[in-house]
Symmetry: none
Subunit: 366 residues, 2 copies
């Protein structure tokens, strides 16, 4: 391993990686001396200052410790993790959604027996609040983070915080969404497949005019919409702009009602509607009923998430199952492993295959 002066990464950064690597690969073991500063200077042909900067960082991050007059040593994992706070941060888009409590419950289940507590942060759809919470969690020295990113379909203004987490060696797991640039750990559902399954089901029932409502700044939502388009293509059904409605407002101010009204104003209104989540689906349900149409007789309706709401509604809702609790557990387990391995493991990624839960809100077309 050498240091490349042309690399965009600073030399001290490269050296840090080299040293960390040799620790990760157990080339140097805990409490074993690493090469002296002057040796490193000669080996890598860099200045002593640069070497000191790299080592200083690693000491601060808990990888090494120095003994004046003796040398620099590899810290053992115990002392590397002894600064643990046993706090796990969970930053969520909205705490008041029906998904959040299940996720928390799942995380709590795996994390509490190991002595960790959960600190919650409510981004409330606001990237700035998300940033504030991220900084706060960093300041609090959380052992790890589980994040459901806000406005995930847009370029995140908070990437620098995620990179900061990486630099600081604080492991994190994203939930529901992920940022391509980061190559981080995440757990999510295959939303494209979910959207596909929902749409396919409606197509199989003979529907050809299928409306769709999605939230354009929400990554899972846009993927569900992609799945919708994919299914139409597969079934050679024309894609029609007028059947597609999207919005960006926070869910609690969503314009579903007027979107639905627009959908039924067009010449050939839809015979079925796919909503990107159950909350929206049930509001659609309300509006459709108010328009004097019956579900499933006149209009078929598919939601997403399989929330409690779906079962409790008058006509139980056909919906795509979202393994909320299991995702929480999975995210918790991933994070624990990352924490306990000293964040040295490869990023872990898990994608749940969604299934359609067929209830009574859809009917073959007349």
């Amino acid at each position: 391993m050498k240091i490349d002066p042309q690399s965009p990464l600073p030399k001290y950064h490269q050296l840090k990686e080299i040293i960390k690597d040799s620790i990760k690969k157990s080339i140097v073991k805990p409490n074993e001396r690493i090469r002296s500063e002057n040796e490193l200077v000669k080996i890598y042909k860099i200045s002593r200052h640069t070497v000191r900067q790299a080592i200083g960082d690693l000491v601060n991050e808990g990888w090494l410790y120095r003994e004046p007059g003796i040398g620099t040593f590899c810290a053992d994992r115990l002392s590397r993790t002894s600064g643990k706070t046993f706090i796990i941060g969970v930053i969520s888009v909205v705490v008041s959604s029906y998904i959040f409590p299940r996720i928390i419950h799942g995380i709590d289940n795996v994390v509490h027996p190991k002595g960790y507590s959960i600190v919650v942060g409510n981004a409330n759809h606001n990237p700035e609040k998300e940033a504030a919470h991220l900084q706060d969690m960093i300041n609090r020295n959380v052992d790890g983070l589980i994040i459901e990113p806000t406005k995930s379909a847009l370029p995140s203004p908070n990437i620098k915080y995620f990179q900061k987490l990486k630099e600081k060696g604080i492991p994190f797991v994203m939930i529901d969404s992920y940022l391509d640039e980061l190559n981080s750990s995440y757990v999510c559902v295959d939303d494209v497949l979910g959207g596909y399954l929902a749409t396919e089901y409606l197509l199989e029932l003979g529907h050809r005019r299928i409306g769709v409502i999605y939230k354009s700044d929400h990554l899972p939502s846009t993927k569900r919409f992609q799945g919708y388009k994919k299914a139409l293509k597969k079934y050679k059904v024309d894609y029609s702009e007028e059947l597609v409605k999207s919005f960006t407002l926070p869910e609690d101010k969503n314009p579903t009602s007027s979107l639905i009204k627009e959908l039924f104003k067009i010449k050939k209104p839809p015979t079925a509607i796919f909503c990107y989540n159950d909350q929206i689906a049930l509001q659609a349900y309300k509006t459709i009923t108010k328009l004097g149409l019956k579900i499933p007789h006149d209009v078929s309706l598919v939601g997403f998430d399989d929330s409690d709401l779906a079962i409790l509604s008058e006509i139980p809702l056909t919906t795509v199952a979202h393994p909320k609790g299991r995702m929480g557990k999975k995210a918790g387990k991933m994070l624990l492993q990352l924490i306990e391995s000293g964040n040295t493991s490869r990023p872990q990624q898990f994608v749940y295959k969604p299934r359609l839960t067929i209830r009574d809100s859809c009917k073959p077309i007349r």
Copy 2:
């Protein structure tokens, strides 16, 4: 303040102390720029390297943060000035209920702007888990606690923990329930009045056979039941044991379905049913519908909480409004005041007067 080259302390160390001092004495306030590196070089007649070493240390220790191209700033590390942890614990009976997220949201709203973070604990209906969380929160030196006690209608096995909190001077606010013995701060709704209002409404509609379902180990629930009895008495309607059903299982395993079936097996079945919360009410709804009865035509139904579920159900549910978010805010505000007054204030108690939200699930008796 100057730097003494003769001092046994290294110069960068002296500079660190100077900077820390100016932060401690609020000469520079959080997020305010400190002097640039070059200014410090001139002022203290030391090299840039030395300045960078001092600042680098303080950044690592959380006193400062740097912004390339802009300057170096005082961090608002919260716990620096006081022994405070700026953590508020929230222990809830079930995190996965529909009440919890609203409460959290309310608490977060008032508490986050003041720099506090929320640690959640999920008792999951289990007093032992509650105890574990209480002990954990004490160990973590939380600045205050908000607790929704488990099995609140029974003598609490965890009183000793609450007394420990008092001894340690850790303020806490109970939510929804309270323990008489403690004379603690709490915020709740007048559940007796709520139960009374619900029952009175049904009585005014002419109902005389009013069934009731409640959870006998849950204080608010038993109070709602008391309100039910009070209303019957006021209207001189005989109280009938066979119309009263109760259970103790966790809500997610509740036996509502069979309880409802029992209620409609008796000779003179009820014409109306009051359920102690909306979740139960909606399950009752399902079962009643399955029995071939129509709501509100054959049976009137009243819930409690005014949850999202209540609006979304087929026949919007008449229910007693529970100010979830406002209660969270109130509890947060109370706790902040207790914390900031050094827990010297009298215990504060706030009781919300509930109101009946009349929707479509009730009808005058035929």
